[in-house]
């Protein structure tokens, strides 16, 4: 079986391996240069950036010289999906397209053993390739993460565990779609579409709700500059800000319209905005997830996608077992 699986899927494995290898090496080269900007390590530098001028300069150079790579990387959130769908789509669909399922399942290898071997091997390749790619990206992004935190969409979706879960999700969708549609290319398309359709709602709606966010509420300092008042004190650079704004003395959150009315009133009165707000007991609040929740959130989101992948693989196994193909 090992030889057969390799012979049947070596093209996909080689193409994907080449793709991951090329991007991986490019990122390693660029990443080494970027890491060299921080002799003491980017994490320590990020802590000192406020006081240490060399560190602040390093981060500026990082942004100027390697910021474009970071922007390009945002497009790489599709890499896990390409890997998973490319390996999953032909698993059953190609056999069904060419009629060779009748050949494969009438040899002496029982179909369930055949399916188990194929699923294990190709899911294994999916995990290995995505894992390697994610490891390189995670390492490359270390200096950026030190500055921006790991909860940004272009960090969270590319690092840690979730890319592997995305890849297995795409693998499951593609395999199941291939079993039902009996065509490789539509199955690939379905997996791609399913990921794009699922990713946005999960990232925007589900992810912030994995845990109850923390809330800070503090009075507006009298002496603060307008700039500070506008943005409010961020709990930490690496936290994930969900919402921020103003509340009245009782803690009732003000709508932005109410806030702008206050601002206009302050202007009409000709007083300093902060003093004006402070005098009325206005407070500013932040709703956020602290940075140390990164791994919890990664685990939750990975489990979510893995569960769906498991269900889809279950459907495939059930269909093959019941001889519905």
């Amino acid at each position: 079986m090992t030889w057969l699986i390799w012979r049947q899927h070596r093209t996909e494995v080689c193409v994907l391996g080449l793709l991951v290898g090329t991007f991986g090496i490019a990122l390693l080269v660029l990443g080494t240069q970027a890491h060299d900007l921080f002799p003491g390590g980017p994490a320590r530098c990020a802590g000192e950036a406020g006081s240490n001028e060399a560190c602040a300069a390093s981060f500026r150079r990082l942004d100027e010289e390697y910021g474009y790579v970071e922007n390009l990387l945002a497009g790489f959130y599709l890499v896990p999906v390409v890997i998973g769908a490319f390996l999953g789509a032909p698993l059953l669909a190609r056999e069904l397209e060419d009629g060779t399922w009748q050949l494969a399942w009438t040899q002496a290898v029982p179909r369930m053993r055949w399916l188990a071997a194929k699923l294990a091997a190709l899911a294994g390749v999916t995990v290995a390739l995505t894992g390697m790619f994610t490891a390189v990206v995670t390492w490359f992004r270390q200096p950026f993460d030190a500055w921006e935190g790991r909860f940004q969409y272009d960090a969270f979706d590319l690092e840690g565990l979730v890319p592997v879960a995305y890849a297995l999700f795409a693998f499951g969708v593609a395999t199941a779609a291939g079993a039902i549609l009996r065509r490789s290319l539509p199955a690939f398309g379905v997996a791609f579409g399913a990921f794009l359709a699922v990713r946005m709602p999960v990232a925007l709606l589900a992810r912030p709700a994995y845990a109850t966010p923390l809330t800070t509420m503090e009075p507006i300092p009298v002496g603060g500059s307008k700039d500070q008042a506008g943005h409010g004190p961020v709990p930490s650079n690496a936290s994930w800000m969900i919402e921020h704004g103003y509340a009245d003395a009782t803690g009732r959150r003000l709508s932005w319209t109410e806030y702008y009315e206050l601002e206009a009133a302050a202007n009409r009165a000709g007083t300093n905005l902060n003093q004006f707000l402070h005098a009325r007991g206005i407070q500013q609040f932040n709703v956020y997830h602290p940075a140390d929740r990164f791994w919890t959130f990664q685990l939750i989101e990975a489990a979510l996608f893995l569960a769906v992948a498991a269900v889809l693989i279950g459907v495939v196994v059930w269909r093959v077992r019941r001889r519905m193909i």
């Binding site: 079986m1 030889w3 057969l4 012979r7 049947q8 060419d98 009629g99 060779t100 399922w101 009748q102 050949l103 494969a104 399942w105 009438t106 040899q107 002496a108 290898v109 029982p110 179909r111 019941r322 001889r323």
Partner: protein
């Protein structure tokens, strides 16, 4: 050889797809040894029945027993006793012929690589060619060599020669019959072509509209059936229920009867029936008991 009396036994087998029943109430007992032909028009349910036999499908009703084993409980041992050549003889098109043989060796318990290589060498099929670049006849031969190298006790072929030109068809059947003569393999194959069967087959199953309409040993079937030719008559002659088909021409009436007593009336002659006419007569019969009149095609 195998110790089992029947190559294939089905009991009340039906297969239902989403669009309806492809096969109903199929009860068969086919002896081991010899060549069994499964005959029927396109869409009669032949492929469905054969896929049920090799365990590619599971029946919706009834049971399928091949060589004494329930096929749905497929183990390497039971699977290796049955060879299958699907319609259009699928191969992995990008594999070379040698890789196809390696596939056979990797996935079977008693694959006879030497046998397959000898067969292919005899046919002049090079091992280093990709399967997809071979001619249709050569692809069929590679698929047959693979199936035979499994050394199956039952070899099932779905329309094996339907897509082949006459020369390739002849060559294919020659190889197949050679293999049957060599060793005790039972062959079950489907066809919608009726002629040539008499020469090749021992046993016949006629399938029409998803139902078995005739089954039996070919010699016995031919002995049981006769054509009766007499003056044209419109009266119902099927008193004994033995008339398979009545055909009226201008002046004569021809009856195909089974186990038939000759009608008492004088002027009737009995003739043996050719296998092709016998099969066609059964295929022309209405598929459902509720169906309309028998078509009286002029001879």
């Amino acid at each position: 050889m195998t110790g089992t009396e029947f190559a294939l036994r089905t009991d009340g087998v039906g297969k239902r797809y989403r669009k309806g029943w492809a096969l109903r109430d199929c009860t068969l007992a086919l002896p081991a040894g010899g060549v069994i032909a499964l005959v029927g028009p396109n869409g009669a349910g032949k492929t469905t029945l054969l896929r049920l036999v090799v365990g590619l499908l599971a029946p919706s009703t009834g049971t399928v027993e091949v060589l004494g084993h329930d096929v749905t409980a497929s183990t390497p041992q039971t699977l290796s006793r049955v060879g299958f050549l699907a319609q259009d003889h699928p191969l992995y098109k990008r594999f070379t012929v040698a890789e196809m043989l390696r596939f056979g060796r990797a996935c079977n318990l008693r694959f006879d690589q030497g046998l397959a290589e000898r067969r292919l060498a005899k046919l002049g099929i090079p091992l280093d060619r990709r399967a997809g670049t071979l001619s249709g006849g050569q692809q069929a031969q590679v698929a047959l060599a693979l199936a035979l190298a499994k050394r199956p006790d039952l070899l099932v072929l779905d329309e094996p020669v339907a897509s082949l030109d006459p020369l390739a068809r002849h060559e294919f059947l020659q190889v197949l019959m050679g293999a049957v003569a060599e060793g005790g393999v039972t062959v079950l194959f489907s066809s919608h072509v009726v002629h040539e069967l008499e020469r090749v087959c021992d046993h016949l199953v006629v399938l029409n509209h998803g139902r078995v309409t005739l089954t039996g040993d070919i010699d016995t079937l031919l002995a049981e059936h006769r054509l009766l030719v007499g003056p044209r008559t419109a009266t119902d002659l099927d008193r004994a229920g033995a008339v398979v088909e009545a055909v009226h021409s201008d002046r004569h009436t021809t009856l195909l009867v089974r186990d038939g007593a000759i009608p008492a009336a004088p002027g009737w002659q009995a003739r043996p029936v050719a296998l092709e006419d016998l099969v066609l007569a059964y295929l022309r019969r209405p598929s459902e008991p509720s169906a309309a009149v028998t078509s009286g095609v002029a001879a």
